[in-house]
Amino acid sequence: MDTEFAVVGGGIVGLSVAYGLLCSGKRVTVYDEGDTAIRASRGNFGLVWVQGKGQNYPPYARWTRRSARAWPQFAQQLAQESGTALNLQQRGGYSIHLTEQSLADKVASYEKLRVALDDDYPFEVLGHNAIKQEEPHIGPSVAGAILHHEDGHVNPLMLLRTLAQLVRKRGADVITDAAVTRLEPQASGYELQLQNKQVHRAEKIVICAGLGAKTLAPMLGFKAPIFAQRGQVLITEKMPPFINRPSGEIRQVNEGGVQIGASSELAGLNDSETIDITAQLARNAMLMYPKLASASLLRSWAALRIMTPDGYPIYQQSTTCPGAFYITCHSGITLAAAHALLLPEWLCSRDHGEPSLPSLSAFSEARFNV
């Protein structure tokens, strides 16, 4: 065997999982594609976000919050090992609303969730004056906001880089520019064929290949019912700090730029930005923070989310190929802490039946059986 765990995919999910396995003393090899690969981890919004997650599915709300709570420890550990700060800030975040109606609707759905979560869901509703108190630069057309105290944000590119660095430091082989083209179960373990025709062997396989899993995962008996959802994002020039807390739409990043996002569109694998959508994002941003009108827009981009039909993650061990796992989610930043700190227990367990972490059973592929 070349390695104990072959992690296919070097985005945030693959690297978080690899880092967790290495911390548990496992031998790991990470396989990743090259410079121009489709990689959501390079184009996301950087929120460590709780509110709204699992509005209609409390297990997802619980899993998300578990990760958000694990984030401070995770960030500290990464910073200590790497010497780089990730600029994690978890002082709450908003959902900003331009009409009373949309605010009221959202509040109603959060209240329902609060009941499902045994009254433990710390959000408060801010009217215009209250949000203005918190955010002096908020625009006059903002009706109000929901402040959820568990929300926050992080520098997602620093996270990606730090994980790439630490996974190597902890002894993983990381092979880049090495797309895996075929996965095959052997009498014991698995064979991976790479694009350059090399064949590697591993005892266990964890598929974290983002949209690439669509073709890879079925080779080991997974359904992988995923599709791409395009999100467009804007970033301004650096500005002196004027936004205190992030919202689902706008955040000021630690370097000073203001990030504005993100749309949700179906466009296949087209990851180009478009004027019509970016113009709408710009206009909405100006309504929320009028000061942004005169800010220079440095760049817009689009990235592709990895979506499941219901929007929740998949954590699945293959029913036909034991020792092969499939992991995907559309909030890989938020869930990075859980992936690194909690998943190894599941991945390393000898038990081939129910997941060892009770919370994971809610995220099996069985839910897509018709």
Binding site: R42, L98, Q101, D177, I275, D276, T278, A285, S294, Y312
Partner: protein, 503 residues
């Protein structure tokens, strides 16, 4: 990239850039009665070489003869700037007489496709507009090659092109300067400074003299290019005769200073070291095509290993990998001003033909233009061999800033190679290099070079930054002004990704 939304007005042909290539393309099309729009971000036509020339308006000239000027100021201008500068006047005058919808001060920041049409978005005086065209000619010219040296970010360090712009546009020159680099433009600028009475203190030449491969490139076109060759030779002797200290074969160059440039230190032929005080540094290491627009469209590009730059792939008629988009002039790979004008004309004729115009009568000229552009490319290959960019002969020192905008050093780029980066895009994500307002224009080539060197990969495998809109920064309000539907709540919710249950 798609544009999707309706345009403000439409044309048969849109030309981006009003340098020699763009002016020739636009006027050629107008001659055929084609509706053409010409956009340029400068306040006047002329491009880099004939910049601001039209401001020396016809009132100052006698009988339209660019050699004869009414006043002594005009004579002095010719003497300092050189006759070649004024040879652009006929093109500029032809343009102002032609039926071309010319928009000056128009910065193009997005080019997209909408079905069969190209859609160009630009801003003028902070107002954004969109126009559509059945065919687009990109004639966005060249820029100077980044020349990363320790201290090159200090105030007081300018490119030689910048020095020339000050001279052409406003008649400014400075004493007490040092010129660093190589290539005809640097020498030309040195002679202009000398004629201005602002003799540079020194010329630090990174070139190594004539080599055999260069001569081989030259032979087939030597006859056509004897004049520029002679001018080139005479420039160097002028510089020396004027008493400028010339140090050739320079290496380990450092620009010194705390909060502004105050001197230059380097080694030169024979291993000697020199330290020169100065107030200003002008650097130049050749020019490279400005490929931001063509790259943003994800047109096919290729690595040119003689010139060490990426250039768009085009056919004989200047058509890119996208049939309704052509690329003319230096933006297609460096060919020089004269050939750029011919290339613009050629591109225009090819486009006119595909737009249904009868261009049969021009077929003889067409072959002549193709040949001329071919010779120009060969001559430029000769120059490229003669004046190889510094980055190909000397690695960038670790502590040198590579990305000026985000202050990323060469050492940080190298570290990315250790972290598995095989190209500029992941490197950008890890270091922020290329994320600043210049959009990677002044670091892209250096980053690719460092990655190639560090990973022992051939340069052509490295690739380029993915170029995204806006091609040049615009305000949020300018972008927002293009939103064509009123804001509604549904848009607000689709605009958040946090609402995972909403679908």
């Amino acid at each position: 990239m798609t544009a999707n939304a309706a345009a403000d007005s439409s044309f048969e042909l849109i030309v981006i850039g009003a340098g020699p290539a763009g002016m020739a393309a636009a006027t050629t099309a107008a001659d055929f009665g084609c509706s053409v729009c010409l956009l340029d971000e400068q306040p006047t036509a002329g491009g880099q070489i004939y910049r601001s020339l039209s401001r020396a308006g016809p009132t100052n000239r006698v009988n339209g003869d660019s050699g004869a000027w009414k006043n002594t100021a005009g004579k002095q201008a010719i003497e300092i700037l050189g006759k070649a500068y004024f040879s652009g006047l006929p093109l500029i005058e032809k343009l102002s007489a032609a039926n071309v919808h010319t928009v000056h001060g128009a910065c193009v920041w997005h080019v997209g496709l909408n079905g069969e049409d190209g859609v160009v978005t630009y801003s003028r005086q902070q107002h954004a507009s969109r126009i559509s065209g059945r065919h687009i000619i990109i004639a966005s010219g060249a820029m100077e090659r980044p020349m990363p040296l320790p201290g090159w970010t200090l105030p007081g360090v300018l490119t030689a092109g910048a020095g020339q712009i000050l001279l052409k546009t406003d008649g400014l020159a400075t004493d007490n300067s040092v010129l660093i680099g190589t290539g005809p433009l640097l020498y030309y600028f040195a002679t202009q400074l000398i004629r201005s009475g602002c003799k540079p203190k020194a010329l630090i030449d990174t070139g190594n003299g004539v080599n055999r491969t260069a001569i081989r490139e030259l032979l087939p076109v030597a006859l056509h290019y004897y004049r520029p060759l002679l001018t080139g030779l005479s420039m160097l002797s002028q510089i020396k005769r004027a008493g400028v200290n010339c140090y050739s074969g320079a290496s380990a160059i450092e620009i010194l200073g705390d909060s502004r440039a105050s001197g230059v230190r380097c080694h030169y032929t024979g291993g000697k070291q020199i330290n020169i005080d100065c107030d200003f540094v002008f650097m130049h290491d050749g020019v490279i095509p400005n490929t931001h627009i063509s790259r943003s469209l994800q047109l096919r590009h290729q690595w040119n290993s003689v010139h060490h730059y990426h250039e768009p792939a085009i056919n004989d008629g200047a058509v890119s990998s996208q049939s309704n988009i052509s690329i003319a002039g230096d933006g297609s790979g460096i060919i020089g001003a004269e050939a750029s004008a011919q290339h613009g004309k050629l591109a225009s004729l090819t486009a006119l033909k595909s737009l249904g115009y009868d261009t049969e009568g021009q077929s003889k000229n067409r072959q002549r233009q193709i040949n001329a552009v071919g010779r120009a490319r060969q001559f430029q290959r000769f120059l490229a061999r003669l004046y190889p960019p510094l980055i190909t002969t000397e690695p960038v020192a670790d502590n040198t800033i590579v990305c000026r905008c985000e202050q990323v050093t060469a050492a940080e780029i190298k570290r990315c190679v250790e972290l598995g980066c095989t190209g500029p895009n992941q490197t950008k994500a890890y270091t922020r290099c290329g994320m600043g307002p210049c959009q990677g224009r002044y670091c892209g080539l250096t980053v690719a070079n460092i990655i190639a060197r560090e990973s022992n990969l051939p340069a052509e495998t490295i690739g380029t930054f993915r170029v995204r809109s806006p091609l040049k920064p615009v305000t949020i309000a300018e972008l927002a002004s293009l939103a064509d539907t009123p804001p509604t709540h549904t848009q607000m919710t689709t605009a958040t990704h946090t609402n995972d249950d909403s679908r």
